[in-house]
């Protein structure tokens, strides 16, 4: 589905054609962008769903093939088919890619690089057992960069999730009606089978906006049930 078909569905669900006052261009694009971001957040994992001792939400990155399929278009492989490896300088620093959102894996010569939290870094560097070396490298995330140990790894493969491109519905007004402009619109990157879920999120936002709480409830229930 394209962003125009999704808009038609949203208007139909909200019964907007009949009642008038369809979502205007700015409102729809706002909801579209919001739904796009929230859907991404849901798919790679909501920390609010963590339970003590079980940091796993109902949906999370790589938890099932369905999630992998849903998110695969946002999986960037530096060192994979199309991109060079992540470069590490002589001090062990590597810049985080600008579009980095969520870690998937890091490998040095095919071997997994362990990511640790900063609070245990000192223990690991001083450890007589689990100290880092080229067989068992470590890395720690900082604001704009990664710090690797040992420092002289040079290059690593780095797979991560980037944000989906923000979709945009473009239209011009002709005779008081919006006329969709596909050439200047930006489509969703998500697989087609997820578009109904994204449309549902837009319906949820829009119904909240118009205080149609029955519709909001329905949208939430559909979000929980997946249909």
């Amino acid at each position: 589905m394209n962003v125009n078909q999704i808009r038609d569905w949203v208007n139909f669900e909200l019964n907007k054609h009949q009642s008038g006052n369809t979502l205007n261009k700015e409102e729809y694009n706002l909801c579209l962008a919001w739904a796009n971001a929230e859907y991404f957040k849901i798919k790679y994992g909501l920390p609010e769903e963590y339970r003590p001792g079980m940091p796993l939400p109902r949906q999370a990155w790589a938890v099932s093939q369905k999630i992998i399929d849903d998110l695969r278009r946002f999986l960037v492989g530096k060192g994979g088919k199309n991109l060079p490896q992540l470069t590490i300088d002589i001090n062990g620093y590597a810049d985080l890619p600008d579009d980095y959102i969520h870690y998937s894996s890091i490998r040095y010569n095919g071997r997994a690089v362990e990511t640790i939290s900063n609070d245990v870094l000192g223990d690991r560097l001083q450890s007589s057992i689990v100290y880092p070396d080229k067989s068992y490298p470590l890395c720690v995330f900082y604001d704009t960069y990664l710090q690797f140990y040992p420092k002289d790894l040079g290059y690593v493969d780095f797979d991560y999730l980037r944000m989906p491109i923000t979709p945009y519905w473009d239209a011009v007004i002709v005779d008081d009606e919006y006329v969709y402009k596909p050439s200047s619109s930006v489509q969703l990157e998500w697989p087609d089978d997820t578009h109904t879920d994204i449309a549902n999120l837009i319906i949820k936002y829009a119904s909240e906006n118009i205080r149609d709480f029955g519709m909001t409830q329905l949208a939430k229930q559909r979000q929980n049930d997946g249909q």
Binding site: M54, L56, A60, W61, A62, S105, E114, I129, V130
Partner: protein, 214 residues
């Protein structure tokens, strides 16, 4: 199984195989290697109750260690301070009763001429005996990772062949580690028990379900 496979097997068991990263355990392979070393020592050194194994233990050689043995050629060096000759063991040897982790020390090309083990506390008794004046009769005494030889060993040899029972962590990752007598399950269970994954098994094969160690 190779050493790498032993470690990976335990790691996958503890970590949850290919479970999602958030759920997967984070057990370091070096930690697992050390626990496996303890498990190998524990299982292979355990006193056995079966008659057959008791007999095997009573003999000087215990057959169950042969599959964990590797051979090394060691240089014979001189300790001028002590006026003794010695070799340095290249690996840490499994600590087995009567120093049986050192299976055999021989000349490099004549394995029929075995050197005789001697405990440190026996040296003062044995050195004065006439029997030690016989040519070719060489004793060795273990001191840490050094083997000290008795007599004029350098007149005959510059190197010796050492057959050693390695501790698990001394094997190469690609070494095939053959565990004797169906001990794989015990080693895995003891390792998981040591790492807190499961209750230690009933490690005495005495036909009861009571958790006992001996």
């Amino acid at each position: 199984m190779t050493k790498a496979q032993w470690i990976e097997l335990i790691k996958r068991n503890l970590d949850g195989g290919d479970a999602p990263a958030e759920l997967r355990g984070r057990n370091h392979e070096r930690e697992i290697e050390l626990y496996l070393t303890m498990a190998f020592d524990t299982v292979l050194n355990r006193k056995q109750t079966q008659t057959q194994e008791m007999l095997a233990d009573m003999g000087k050689d215990s057959w169950r260690y042969d599959s964990l043995t590797k051979s090394f050629v060691l240089d014979i060096l001189e300790d001028t301070t002590r006026n003794r000759y010695y070799s340095t063991l290249p690996v840490t040897v499994m600590s087995i009763i009567n120093n049986n982790g050192i299976r055999m020390i021989t000349p490099t090309q004549d394995e029929g001429v075995a050197f005789f083990p001697r405990w440190q506390t026996d040296t003062f008794l044995m050195d004065g005996l006439d029997v030690n004046q016989m040519v070719g009769l060489i004793y060795y005494t273990l001191e840490g990772k050094k083997l000290y030889y008795s007599g004029d060993i350098d007149c005959h040899w510059k190197q010796v062949l050492a057959k050693l029972v390695l501790k698990f962590n001394e094997f190469e990752l690609t070494d095939d580690i053959v565990v004797p007598d169906g001990k794989e399950l015990e080693i895995v269970q003891v390792t998981l028990g040591l790492m807190g994954a499961k209750a230690p098994m009933d490690i005495v094969d005495d036909g009861t379900a009571i958790q006992t160690t001996k």
